[in-house]
């Protein structure tokens, strides 16, 4: 499990989690998926991923959760170095305007997906966000050409030729 880029899904309703993970399965060849039913569990999972030498590329997070809510979790993760660069997406049908404004301003929310989602829209968001992550972290884009946005990755390769990869 070393040097992998994880997708973390935080959702408390098990059926909904099931459906989300099902829809994300195709990414798992390159981006292993981790799941958590609460913010507290998500924090542990993040720690575990970091400890094993991997990173979290994308967090998909529900808002209404037991204990700490999704927006607060994202704000906290934004303030920690290890997850500062992780792309953050809120997947919810319930966050009010105020919560969402908070998430945008304080958690640097990258995207908002309203429930119910469509598989195409979800895939689109995940591809764009993970592409952003790969480019920002200046990772070797070649392994991801087949699954992410190849055009943008190639462009970034032209701007930043690989050196020590």
């Amino acid at each position: 499990m070393e040097n992998q880029i994880f997708i973390l899904v935080v959702e408390d309703e098990l059926e909904v989690m099931d459906a989300l993970v099902n829809d994300l399965e195709e990414f798992e060849t390159h981006f292993p998926i981790e799941i958590a039913n609460s913010a507290a569990e998500a924090e542990q999972v993040v720690q575990h991923i970091i400890d094993s030498g991997s990173t979290v590329g994308l967090i998909l997070c529900d808002h209404v959760l037991p204990g700490k809510n999704g927006v607060d979790l994202l704000i906290e993760l934004q303030n920690e170095n290890k997850t500062k660069d992780s792309r953050k997406v809120l997947v919810t049908g319930q966050a009010g305007l105020e919560d969402t404004v908070q998430a945008v301003n304080k958690a640097h929310l990258n995207h908002y997906i309203a429930k119910p989602w469509s598989k195409e829209a979800l895939h689109d968001v995940v591809i764009q966000q993970l592409t952003d992550y790969v480019i920002r972290r200046k990772l070797n884009p070649l392994p991801y050409m087949s699954i992410l946005d190849a055009g943008r990755l190639a462009e970034s390769l032209r701007d930043n030729p690989l050196t020590d990869h």
Partner: protein, 473 residues
């Protein structure tokens, strides 16, 4: 007691004077006749004459700054005209016009002293009459002053009443608006519920039909067994999934792909046993797919049932179809309310203690509004995992519903006012900050012949007690 000197009867004095005039040619020459409508003098003029009215009548009119005029007094025989201006030497405050043809003794100001001296028979009656006039006016003044005072008081009272009436009007207007809103909401909900029921039913029926496609009653076929187990499987928490993934990786070391491991991790032992025993004959992917198909159909069924239940509660909660008073079980209303608010109270520690209740005559939709208002208020102040307790019991002849929380409670200085209309502790423009919730609740319970009270618990937190008398419709 009448003194011989002080004649306070105007007519008697006038008779003296009339006689004196009749006896004296010089005085007679000073008697003038003025026709009806004649303006004797105008407001603002200095008066060179003083008139003593002998016959007829005149009125004094005061013109105000805004141009409107006010009739002040009607002058009758025995009255002086121009008395104030005459004695003060100031300009007249009034205009004098003749009402009925007047006969008057016209006395020139500067000659007044002389008249009095020249005609001793006139002196005393004139002085008496003047005194009498002054006293009259003073009395009138006192009377006016006191009338004005009581008028002012009346006006003040009326103003106060008007203010109250306006406030009441405003309140009932707001209540009407709220009622209208609730009625519209009810209609919307009823229509919405009806519309959502159709797709929900379609989902449910389709999932059942889909199931038939997989089931061929060959009980020993491992593929079909996997499907059936999938149909009955329950979702697994993320912690269990993670732990079981490690176990599965050991048990099936040849499975490399993480998605498959996760699927195995979510299967019950029965399914794992079947995979173990039949994977030599049937590809493992097929077995997993069968299980997943069963699980997906199960998920569709569970989700569509949830929709149907929510819709059912929404319908009975709003009771748009029937807001007539009916024999109702209050507990059902409380349960519907809780389901409708499940999103708000999802992570509260809810303690529901609904004892046996007799049916009673009431309006379910309205009572549900009361439970909603109180519960929503509690949710607004409770932290996550706050404690909410709802209980009901029958204390003959009352049904008693108690809703309490462990929040900050209600400040003692406002606790007496929370049922007043427009009383709110929430900021203006907040979602639920109309300040009508508890006032309307109070009104609804009152209409049911019951009572609602609020208090703070000794151990902290607010407590609402509602008692409704049991009766037949």
């Amino acid at each position: 007691m009448k003194s011989g000197f002080i004649l306070n009867d105007r007519k008697t004095i006038l008779r003296f004077i009339q006689r004196a005039i009749d006896d004296n040619e010089e005085l007679k020459a000073h008697v003038v006749k003025l026709k009806k409508g004649t303006i004797v003098f105008k407001q603002g003029e200095k008066l060179p004459f003083l008139y003593l009215l002998l016959e007829g009548s005149a009125k004094l009119t005061h013109t105000r700054h805004d141009g409107s005029s006010l009739d002040l007094v009607k002058l009758e025989p025995g009255h002086f005209v121009g008395l104030v201006a005459f004695t003060t030497g100031n300009a007249s405050l009034t205009t004098c016009s003749v009402l009925d043809d007047v006969t008057a003794l016209k006395i020139e100001q500067r000659e007044f002293e002389q008249y009095v001296n020249d005609h001793p028979r006139l002196r005393h009656p004139l002085q008496q009459l003047m005194m009498n006039n002054m006293t009259d006016r003073f009395l009138k003044n006192v009377e006016l002053e006191s009338r004005m005072n009581s008028l002012n008081k009346e006006l003040e009272k009326e103003g106060e009443e008007l203010k109250n009436a306006y406030q009441q009007l405003e309140d009932s207007h707001q209540r009407l608006v709220h009622q209208e809103k609730m009625a519209t909401l009810g209609e919307l909900v009823a229509g919405f519920a009806h519309e959502v029921n159709n797709p929900a039913a379609a989902l449910l029926r389709s999932s059942e039909a889909l199931k038939e496609n997989f089931v061929h009653s060959s009980k020993n076929d491992p593929l079909e067994l996997m499907f059936r187990i999938g149909l009955e499987s329950e979702p697994v928490s993320s912690v269990d999934v993670r732990n079981r993934m490690l176990v599965m990786q050991k048990q099936f070391p040849f499975v490399n792909d993480r998605s498959t491991v996760r699927k195995l991790a979510q299967m019950p032992d029965k399914a794992i046993e079947i995979i173990d025993s039949s994977r030599k004959k049937i590809p493992i992917d097929q077995l997993i797919q069968q299980f997943e198909s069963g699980k997906l159909i199960h998920n569709i069924k569970v989700a569509s049932e949830r929709i149907a239940n929510l819709v059912k509660s929404l319908k009975s909660y709003s009771r748009q179809d029937n807001n007539e008073a009916d024999m109702i079980d209050i507990r059902l209303g409380i349960q519907d309310t809780i389901l409708i608010l499940s999103n708000r109270i999802k992570y509260l520690d809810l303690n529901l203690n609904l004892g046996d209740l007799p049916l009673t005559c009431g309006r379910m939709g309205e009572l549900n509004q009361v439970w909603t208002n109180i519960i929503v208020n509690a949710c607004d102040v409770l932290p996550k995992k706050g404690h909410l307790e709802i209980s009901c019991q029958f204390e003959k002849p009352f049904i008693k519903v108690i809703i309490s929380d462990n929040g900050p409670g209600i400040a003692e200085n406002i606790i007496d006012r929370i049922f007043e209309p427009n009383f709110t502790t929430k900021n203006q423009g907040a979602e639920f900050g109309l300040g009508l919730g508890l006032a309307i609740s109070n009104e609804i319970i009152r209409k049911h012949g019951g009572k609602i009270t609020a208090s703070n618990k000794k151990e902290g937190g607010a407590k609402f007690e509602i008692s409704i008398p049991v009766k037949n419709c």
